[in-house]
């Protein structure tokens, strides 16, 4: 891999040059949190952030968008969400999230809506420092080996810039004078030191490899009932998950002469009507079975298909769930640890 060096003070010079003709998206402040948003002024970009509210999947498959416009019996494909974009500041866990979505959306009946948006987006990754909710070290997603055009590793005054694609190489050559070809021994030492300290900063996690078997062994464990009582079935965990890909499709009829639209929008398997079929039969009437489906997908399903979990350890479910149900607390419960999060909910009744 070609690796170059960039002085931190030159970052904006580079971003300015590279974003000509494209939308630049980066983490910006949103209340007490951060969100990926189009950047007007480079001063808005926050370099030292943890997770954004929503993962970058929102750029590839927006929360709601039009697949087709329809007139008579004609369907016309629309790709109105596809735009030339530069996504700067995406952390390794989110890069892994996109790699998992790539498998889902790009293989086996390719999804043009995802693919076109993905192709139009340059991925400029950025190293990060974990907080107490990050699990990426335990999902082996704290380092990105692929899935980016450039990856900026922050070493204080400079970035080590890993070039991950031919396009990435092109954009580095837009401003050849600000990138140094020579990476010194001192830079390498400083990178190794950074990486060691960063890895040590992760809180103790859990062993994902054991999760598929534990999911099977503890499928009827009483802790699921407690989780069920606590779960609000709000779907928040799915909205914020970088690898939750489920969606719903509904037609919107527009009054008057305008063509109707077929709308695709994010959905969640934790919502009541998710497994409803014709005639009113609901295969997952109870929250318990919907929760189990969600966590089967996060902790088990991908392990058997791809050899790694579909959880990328970003910690968004941990900080989002209002009642403390997350990959972390479910994994703790599966490992037999006491889980405070949804332990004291005995006053709540089980509801569908």
């Amino acid at each position: 891999m070609r690796i170059v060096k960039l002085k931190k003070e030159n970052l904006n010079v580079f971003l300015e040059a590279v974003s000509a003709g494209s939308e630049l998206w980066a983490p910006v402040r949103k209340g007490p949190k951060h969100a990926f948003a189009p950047v007007q002024d480079l001063g808005q970009i926050e370099l030292a952030t943890t997770r954004t509210i929503l993962p970058p999947k929102k750029l590839m498959v927006p929360p709601s968008f039009t697949m087709f416009t329809m007139r008579g019996s004609e369907y016309r494909e629309t790709l109105s969400h596809v735009r030339r974009r530069i996504l700067f500041g995406i952390h390794p866990c989110d890069i892994h999230g996109l790699l998992i979505l790539d498998k889902l959306f790009m293989q086996n009946f390719p999804d043009p809506y995802y693919i076109e948006a993905r192709k139009a987006t340059l991925i400029l990754g950025l190293s990060c420092w974990p907080d107490e909710h990050c699990l990426a070290k335990w999902t082996s997603t704290h380092v990105a080996e692929e899935g980016f055009d450039l990856f900026f590793n922050d070493l204080g005054d400079v970035f080590l810039v890993f070039i991950g694609s031919s396009k990435g190489d092109d954009i580095v050559r837009l401003k050849p004078d600000i990138f140094e070809e020579k990476v010194s021994d001192a830079d390498i030492q400083s990178y190794v030191k950074w990486q060691k300290e960063r890895d040590a900063a992760y809180r103790p996690g859990f062993d994902f490899v054991t999760m598929p078997r534990l999911m099977e062994l503890k499928y009827r464990d009483p802790f699921w009932e407690k989780a069920e009582k606590a779960c609000l079935a709000c779907g928040g965990c799915s909205m914020v998950c970088p690898t939750c890909n489920c969606y719903n499709v509904a037609d919107r009829k527009i009054p008057g002469d305008r063509p109707g639209e077929r709308i695709r929008s994010w959905d969640s398997c934790t919502l009541h009507d998710y497994s409803l079929v014709a005639g009113g039969e609901n295969f997952r009437e109870m929250k318990r079975s919907r929760l189990k489906l969600y966590y089967t997908h996060k902790l088990e399903a991908y392990m058997s298909k791809f050899g790694k979990p579909s959880c990328v350890g970003c910690g968004r479910c941990v900080v989002t769930c209002p009642v403390g149900i997350s990959v972390k607390s479910i994994a703790d419960a599966l490992e037999g640890k006491p889980v405070d999060a949804f332990w004291n909910t005995s006053s709540m009744e089980a509801r569908p």
Binding site: Y247, G260, L293
Partner: protein, 287 residues
């Protein structure tokens, strides 16, 4: 490390419905209609290949899209047939269409029945109510290529005679000597039903001796039916992985993206809708 760029011209949109014209439609029961459709593009009509047990997404602009099993057989190419029960807004809108109207169809999707594995074996088809819709494809496939299968046994149950989809066709099949066809109704409100009365499992009394190791049983019906039918089949020692069933789920995409048909770690639209009884034991929430 390079991939061919998909241009607008060559790229296929997996979600784009193909226009198909309703050639023929008529009532099967008060709430089930039969639809025969053909791709508007005649070349496509002849190349639309599928397997019994596969399904297609039927779509009406401004109304919606839903999965329907294909009831016709690929041994009779050119036309696709569907049995559709009026259950919601989309099916109600489809019911209001007239012959010659154009529908959007995409597919075929799903794994379908393992017809090659069933060749040279006995085939038992056990169906109830709307379960006829997917199993009719298997039945016609076997009958069109009758020599490739050994004994074919058909057990079909409906609530009342008026609810039996393709009742006249099934009654006619009873005349055939190369098929063991048994029909039943839960109750006869017509007074002129001259076949068995009782649930579909009561028909197991009427069948010829079964050679279980060489039998494939195909089951489709309302959820309540499976437990009792499977019990009968296990008592006959039909191997668990030779008991086949096709499942209903409400796919939004049909191609493994939307997640709605997820069961455990499989998608009904890609890994199903045909599963074996062993799958049912092995995975959870299948039936």
């Amino acid at each position: 490390m390079t991939s061919a760029p998909a241009t607008r011209e060559t790229r296929v949109n997996s979600f784009m419905p193909e226009p198909m014209r309703i050639v023929r439609m008529y009532n099967l029961t008060p709430d089930v209609k039969f639809f025969q459709v053909r791709a508007v593009d005649i070349d496509r009509a002849m190349t639309f290949d599928y397997k019994p047990g596969q399904f297609a997404m039927i779509s009406l602009p401004n109304v919606g899209e839903a999965p329907f099993c294909i009831s016709s057989t690929p041994t009779r190419p050119g036309l696709l047939e569907f049995c559709i029960r009026k259950a919601g807004s989309l099916t109600s809108a489809i019911f209001r269409l007239k012959e010659n109207a154009v529908l959007g169809v995409r597919g075929p999707y799903g794994n379908g029945f393992p017809m090659e594995r069933m060749e040279g074996k006995d085939v038992m088809l056990i169906m109830g109510g709307m379960g006829v819709a997917p199993l009719r494809s298997v039945l016609l496939y076997c009958l069109d290529d009758r020599d490739r299968f050994r004994n074919v046994t058909l057990l079909n149950g409906a609530k009342r005679p008026g609810d039996m989809i393709f009742r006249d066709e099934f009654l006619a099949l009873k005349q055939r000597e190369d098929l063991d066809c048994h029909l039943t109704v839960d109750g006869d409100d017509t007074g002129c039903w001259c076949d068995n009365v009782g649930v579909v499992t009561t028909l197991f009394r009427c069948i010829k001796p079964v050679d279980p190791e060489n039998t494939f049983a195909v089951v489709c019906g309302p959820p309540v039916m499976y437990k009792f039918v499977i019990r009968e089949l296990l008592e006959l020692h039909v191997p668990k992985d030779q008991i086949l069933m096709t499942l209903e789920r409400r796919m939004k995409c049909g191609v493994g993206k939307c997640g709605h048909c997820a069961i455990d770690y499989v998608y009904t639209c890609l890994d199903g809708p045909v599963f074996t009884y062993w799958d049912v034991i092995h995975m959870r929430e299948l039936i």
